[in-house]
Symmetry: C2
Subunit: 458 residues, 2 copies
Amino acid sequence: MSDLQAIDRYLQETQAQSLETLKSLLRIPSVSADPAYAGDMTRAADSVASALKAAGLEVEMIETDGPPLVYAQSAPVPGKPVALVYGHYDVQPPDPLELWETPPFEPTERNGNLYARGATDDKGQMLTHVESVSAWAKQIGELPLQVKFMIEGEEEMGSEQLDAYLKKPEAKEKLACDVIVISDSGQYSKGQPAITYGLRGIAYFEIHFHGPKQDLHSGSFGGAVNNPANALSKFLASIIDDDGIIQIPGFYDSVKPLEQVERDAWAKLDFNEQQFMDGLGVEGLTGESGYSTLERRWARPTYDVHGLWSGYQGEGSKTIVPAHAAAKFSFRLVPNQTPAEIKVLVEKFVANNTPTGIRSELVDLHGGPGVVVDPNSPFVSAASKAVETAFGNPPVLIREGGSIPIVADMVDLLGADCLLLGWGLEDDGMHSPNEKFNIADFYRGIRASAHLWQHLAS
Amino acid sequence: MSDLQAIDRYLQETQAQSLETLKSLLRIPSVSADPAYAGDMTRAADSVASALKAAGLEVEMIETDGPPLVYAQSAPVPGKPVALVYGHYDVQPPDPLELWETPPFEPTERNGNLYARGATDDKGQMLTHVESVSAWAKQIGELPLQVKFMIEGEEEMGSEQLDAYLKKPEAKEKLACDVIVISDSGQYSKGQPAITYGLRGIAYFEIHFHGPKQDLHSGSFGGAVNNPANALSKFLASIIDDDGIIQIPGFYDSVKPLEQVERDAWAKLDFNEQQFMDGLGVEGLTGESGYSTLERRWARPTYDVHGLWSGYQGEGSKTIVPAHAAAKFSFRLVPNQTPAEIKVLVEKFVANNTPTGIRSELVDLHGGPGVVVDPNSPFVSAASKAVETAFGNPPVLIREGGSIPIVADMVDLLGADCLLLGWGLEDDGMHSPNEKFNIADFYRGIRASAHLWQHLAS
């Protein structure tokens, strides 16, 4: 029996155990955005560290000014490449809570899926690599190459601590690797696995418009005093035009145009617009004119408002000119836009578009550049082989609209290549209520990861 | 000693007692907009009824599908006009609570003012008439004319129950009167009393924009799916242009233009724009081009957003395309616009401006027309005399930007004239945190009211 055959059999036998490990991690509400969950962040880090120790790795908890970084490594294997798994143990906030069918932190099996906040993003996907390493350690006794892990706790809010750590002299040596392996994205569609070779970046802001020093009676003052809620609507609307073109001067200056070869390849992918709309429950699509839906989602910059608040949100009517209005909004960026450059443009736009009677305040919440790697590398070939075995289908090569800002930084710092192997599905509800992970995909992901170590090594 | 001299002396001696009556009414959180306070609405109605009974009136509690109407009347006085006092015992919601220096429902004296939600709007002002009637009853034994009271509990949310009651056959007989007296507005400025001869109307709506069936990951879906928060900003912004002109087709069709004589009279009023801005804490004013600040506030239609909510409002960043966004907004109306006509125009505008991929839902929250009465009536002369005695200064004749929708309905139904006698001040914070009523103005209001009954009768 070959190593891979032995591993396959072992994985088959230990599926229930892997699922329990995932469930216990999902029970910890590690919401990084909300300081109320600080204790749970530590518990989640400890839980990941235990899983890595149980997989036979040497684990180091790196303390930071925020949630700790969990680092781990297997023994060096001279002459073989080094792989670094990157993942995160933090999750998005679970609200709106009332839309969850079962509580977000009580993982529940239904119809072959495991429902919980973080099921796919990223606890479930990240654990596939921990479990595959564990299988090698327990079944074969050693890994065919050195695997390192860097699992952080602030991906959902901008990876500030990992970013700071990467700037330390020790980081470059400790994380030195040939290829970074990340499972924090999706398959192309159910049954059609994918390898993702590009991600968008992001520049995320919060803006506050301050008007009168307190709420005013809209009867007595309306019409003469600039209303921050009126003014903010106008400001937010002015950022984009009817053709979906962002109106901030200079915004597109650094955008690397899409290659014709990519547009041609994506046009050939199986994509049913009606099914896509039905899945989302919308009756029409919009976006930047001149681009297809896949191009808009994967490779063009966007502008989205994520939160709005002002004045009276309760029942009935309250007739005020609110003193304050605020919004959270972000731009998805594409190569070669940088968040730093976009921040300067947005600051200037805010300064030029704050109307009379309003004081504006812009907060830069987080940002990260996009990344695109070579889709023809030997690492991609190795991954394709592993994925095809586990999923029964060769993967297609795609880009992804989401952002893992820290990936671009690590690729830069370490001079490494990067493999984005997504085991999720489009309807998994990452960042939405009723997030889930298909349990069979969880097992397939573990198997693909186990095979990947072998193929990368040979 | 004349009746008025006796009354004046009595009022002087019973000031502390009147203030205690007001405080005990202010302690009841009668917030009509929030169903959680239903019990307090009943308590407030009972408290008003007790005060009217103590003033020697015959009181009737009129039950409705909402908070009760409190009706009262003194004995008929043949050959004399009948006055109907209209007021309300409900108050605006007190939030944002954290901005109150002392709790909104614990009336607190500071610097000659009484701070509490409802202090001016309208508990304090309404009580001046109850206290004046009480003074006549206790000091003289009878009133010089018949005074009726109609005190309702839904003014802050559109007077739905009183509106329904006015449609009943009995209403016209029971409320029959020559003049309606209302104290729910303000003096022109500190020390300069005013009689208000016009009010704006209102048409108040709530709008919901529904997009995808649940929040989506803005990385995976942003740029291809219409974002309800983006779309709502655009919709709200499209309602008004940069010159402050409302863009809803037909909106201005019924607007009665301002008379030149009014514009001339208001231009002569003492109004310091810089002081006005300093008082509000703003560095500039905006509004409809071609009109002065007083004209914009008193006699031109307006558009204000009162509340906005969508997506994530918590700490940090959440990268979603929110499933839903909503706003509360209203238009102040001027003669001869009607809320019914505006509602039709707004519905059409919403239908024509709901973009692809969004389902809109418009809720008509409440409305009422504006009202303008003859500033040269004998009732105005009687009131001027009473106000001048109590405040030491003859009142100026002004209009007001606020709306008391039910006033226009009562004027219509009863064929009565209408006296708007405001004892409040511009900085009283009606509808704002730290609402207050100047205690000396409370006493002056009671005295003016007591004198008014005499002057109306002679």
